[in-house]
Assembly symmetry: C2
Homo-oligomer: 166 residues x 2
């Protein structure tokens, strides 16, 4: 069996990210010049395995809950000097590496990330740039996402607010 | 709540990949010119959410089970004409897109995949090429992985064999 017999303590290098650990649920809104605006339900999970990164998994459904929409999965790496790297795979055929910084912001955290590498499979849409801002304030996690895609410049695409579910 | 109220049926476009669904556990061996050879325990999970891809998650531990080693997470996309795309994030700061074909092989499946895009964060090692062969034969899943990294040419790196756990 691969599961550890006892829970593993978080690696010391992710102590400042520990407030993110857990499951978050809430709602978001999306817009982009090439599509109709839309609303969605979202669930985000941050976990750890005792190493200096968080595991990350995200899923969204249509606002009425009936239909799966987007998903992402990957890792948030903690580096010296409050540098962070988000390493993601998307089922749309896109990979994403965003790099940035973590700022302790009053009682919470703010993560500012911009893409440094985007991979596209043969069948993926032409996403060319991404930027993310995550803000943790108590038990509220919110984010905005900026995207350059289908020949549009980098611009606001998504905003969501979630509450801690466990 | 984001969980569907009832289990979702697999999307028709992943019917040929359905034998992969489930959890697999076993052992592997790694070698590379720049490191000492090693053995590991591995767990692989393929799931689905009702859309035309499988979710994929992999973890390895040291052969005595005491220490987490590698992990990967992402998606296996099913495309027309038995084309497949594997879209992965690694906690080492690497993203991987491998493309290839699925071959029905007697009672099983064989997936042949080669990298078409590898992303590296600022702090990642210089992995430049990957190739994967997965073979499913009844309740046995095995794979080999080829890697070009740290200025070495593409060559054998990993082999593992797993049995269906559920």
């Amino acid at each position: 069996m691969l599961e550890p017999q006892t829970p593993v303590a978080p690696h010391p290098d992710i102590a400042h990210l520990a407030p993110l650990l857990g499951t978050w649920r809430g709602r978001g809104q999306g817009e982009y010049p090439t599509i109709e605006s839309f609303e969605y339900l979202e669930e985000v999970e941050f976990g750890h395995v005792g190493r200096p990164f968080l595991t990350y998994r995200q899923r969204t459904r249509s606002a009425d809950g009936s239909r799966p929409m987007h998903a992402e999965t990957g890792y948030l790496r903690a580096l010296p000097d409050d540098r962070i790297e988000l390493i993601l795979a998307h089922p749309t055929g896109i990979t994403e590496i965003c790099e940035g910084t973590l700022v302790a912001d009053g009682a919470g955290l703010r993560l500012e990330l911009d893409s440094t590498s985007i991979g596209r499979s043969s069948t993926a849409k032409s996403v060319t740039g991404l930027g993310r801002t995550l803000t943790l304030d108590g038990d509220t996690l919110s984010y905005t996402l900026r995207m350059a895609a289908v020949e549009q410049p980098l611009q606001h695409h998504l905003a969501a607010t979630m509450q801690r579910a466990n």
